[in-house]
């Protein structure tokens, strides 16, 4: 896959472009948070529950904290959760899927059953239970999400492996005496991982939603500012202070939509054949 060609195609897709732009903005917000947040997220002031104004672009919450600052800093949390959780999920999924598909046999059978079982159960509940029981440290949460969502990636990777396994260049490598591990690492995984990458974009969105839900339920990390937590805190006051609840939600939506768009753009860029319809003469 040529990189330049890939990017060119990616930017042909309007949704992909939009997603990328939104993501870039969010990334910017996360990285340069201290510069643009106009104050600290935990700094309480006397202006309790005041509506959006010049001083407080998104208003203040019940402790006088600037909603805008909290959202800016919250971007860091959301993006890290997305990356770590989805990254972990992809990593585990790719390796397990590739191994399982490549070596086949009993290992593959057992693995497939496990993967299928996982895909049938509502994963969120599992996450819920585990986090509730074991603790709600942010890192934990990211870990748990990653550890419960890898099966989908594994299944994708496995399917890719199964088809790549039969391709000529793999067979050639084998006959040249290349070791299995080497074949996996240099041929199969680099060629087959792209659909997993596209799926990972979606999983980032999912991780953000999961973390938000956990925080909303009170199971999130108590020490950090997360958008979901903000919604939870805003619940009591939302009737008089709509800004405390509307803005965090909007940003969650923005982030997840961005990742959905990116996933679509990736899909389009990776599989040009899907778009073309041949007319025969």
């Amino acid at each position: 896959m040529k990189l330049k060609e890939f990017w060119k195609r990616y930017f042909e897709h309007p949704y992909g472009v939009a997603g990328f732009v939104i993501f870039a903005v969010l990334l910017f917000m996360a990285i340069f948070a201290p510069l643009i947040s106009m104050g600290k997220p935990n700094e309480m002031s006397g202006d309790i529950l005041s509506p959006p104004s010049l001083k407080y672009p998104f208003g203040t919450d019940h402790l006088g904290r600037s909603v805008y600052s909290r959202i800016v800093y919250g971007t860091r949390v959301s993006l890290s959760v997305g990356f770590v959780a989805a990254g972990l999920s992809a990593l585990i999924g790719i390796f397990i899927g590739a191994f399982s598909g490549y070596f086949g046999g009993m290992v593959d059978e057992v693995m497939s059953k496990i993967i299928d079982s996982f895909l049938m159960i509502p994963v969120f509940f599992l996450i819920l239970i585990i986090v509730a029981i074991f603790g709600s440290n942010l890192f934990y949460i990211m870990l748990v999400i990653g550890l419960t969502t890898w099966p989908r990636n594994a299944r994708i990777m496995r399917a890719q492996t199964l088809s790549l396994k039969e391709r000529a260049f793999v067979k050639v490598a084998k006959s040249l005496g290349e070791g299995d591990l080497r074949i996996l690492m240099t041929h199969i995984i680099p060629n087959g991982m792209y659909p997993v990458v596209a799926n990972s974009a979606l999983q980032m969105g999912g991780a953000i939603l999961a973390e938000a839900a956990l925080s909303f339920l009170g199971l999130g990390d108590p020490n950090i500012t997360s958008w979901g937590k903000m919604i939870n805190e805003a619940r009591t006051y939302m009737a008089f202070a709509w800004w405390t609840i509307v803005f965090p939600g909007i940003f969650i939506i923005l982030a997840v939509v961005a990742f959905s768009f990116i996933a679509d753009g990736l899909q389009y860029a990776l599989y040009p054949k899907l778009k073309e319809v041949e007319e025969s003469g």
Binding site: M120, A213, V256, S260
Partner: protein
């Protein structure tokens, strides 16, 4: 497969720190005697393996275990919650299913591409919306500001309606929570149906039927639609299982007396038995949903009938 899931659950829950006895007694340091007695009473003193086996044999007998916290058999606790959850989930899913299909059909008949882009974008947004947030926003708009719908609960507890009035009251309370669920699920059904329609319209039988004279309208309504709906029904079955569990968040926001709330409380009180019971039931319900879907598909698609 349920077996696997339940086993997984069992071990996770039992691996957790904090044991029920301590919580039950509510004391910081219960005396040794009290612990011993309680443990014996609930069989917690036997080794884990024995507990495991005993649990499954109980399950098979239909005994879902006993909740230590509530001091009642779990089944009693769960059963009165099943109906509300089912009502909510089914309503939400069915509405989403119907709306999704109608939306897809409507878009298919539009002349310009612009309408489709708008609908598509709205769908992306809905898909990305956290259910609990949407629930809160709807409450904000319809209950707080406009004051036309109730904020929570399933029935008006103060009045005691009967018969038809009770039914109407239920509906009134159902609108927002079911609406939330429906909006959250709408994108999936729309996407699948729309893609399916596009696919079906490219199929060869469209050319054949057009050639022999079938009108565009009839062709779409009778032939394309029936073909296109199949994937949607499949998805309906799959998501039905998940929406039962996804309804949890919505139930909590609306204080809907369903299984979701129960589960949430059980987690916090470390009521393992109750948790396992709920989870088991959910797994069963999901399996039933899948079986029903399979049957439905077999009815609609002649290619899948078992010969």
């Amino acid at each position: 497969m349920i077996f696997l899931v339940m086993s997984l659950n069992f071990f996770i829950i039992h691996a957790a720190p904090g044991d029920p006895v301590t919580i039950m007694t509510g004391l910081e340091n219960p005396s040794k005697e009290i612990i011993e007695t309680l443990k014996k009473k609930y069989g917690l003193d036997k080794p884990l393996v024995v507990q495991y086996i005993k649990y499954f044999s109980n399950l098979l007998k239909g005994n879902l275990g006993y909740s230590y916290v509530y001091d009642q058999p779990t089944w009693h606790l769960i059963r009165e919650r099943i109906f509300p959850t089912l009502v909510l989930t089914l309503t939400g899913s069915v509405v989403a299913f119907i709306l999704g299909i109608y939306l897809a059909i409507w878009v298919s008949h539009l002349r310009q591409r612009f309408g489709e882009t708008i609908v598509s974008t709205v769908n992306y947004i809905l898909y990305a919306t956290p259910s609990f947030w949407l629930a809160l926003i709807l409450i904000l708009i319809f209950s707080s500001k406009l004051k036309i719908l109730p904020t929570s609960g399933m029935y008006d507890l103060r009045a005691s309606y009967h018969g038809f009035r009770k039914f109407l009251d239920l509906l009134r309370h159902l609108i927002l929570p079911a609406g939330t669920l429906a909006l959250i699920q709408l994108p999936i059904f729309y996407r699948v149906t729309r893609t399916s329609i596009i696919q079906s319209e490219k199929e060869e039988y469209v050319t054949t039927l057009t050639a022999i004279g079938v009108s565009k309208e009839k062709l779409f309504k009778k032939y394309v639609l029936k073909n296109a709906i199949l994937p949607t029904v499949t998805i309906f079955g799959i998501t039905l299982g998940f929406s039962i569990t996804g309804a949890v968040l919505v139930e909590i926001v609306f204080a809907w007396p369903g299984m979701g709330r129960l589960m949430f409380d059980a987690i916090f009180r470390r009521d393992y038995q109750l948790l396992l019971g709920i989870y088991f039931l959910m797994a069963v319900l999901i399996s039933i949903a899948m079986i029903i879907t399979d049957i439905l598909i077999a009815i609609l698609d002649p290619r899948i009938r078992i010969t």
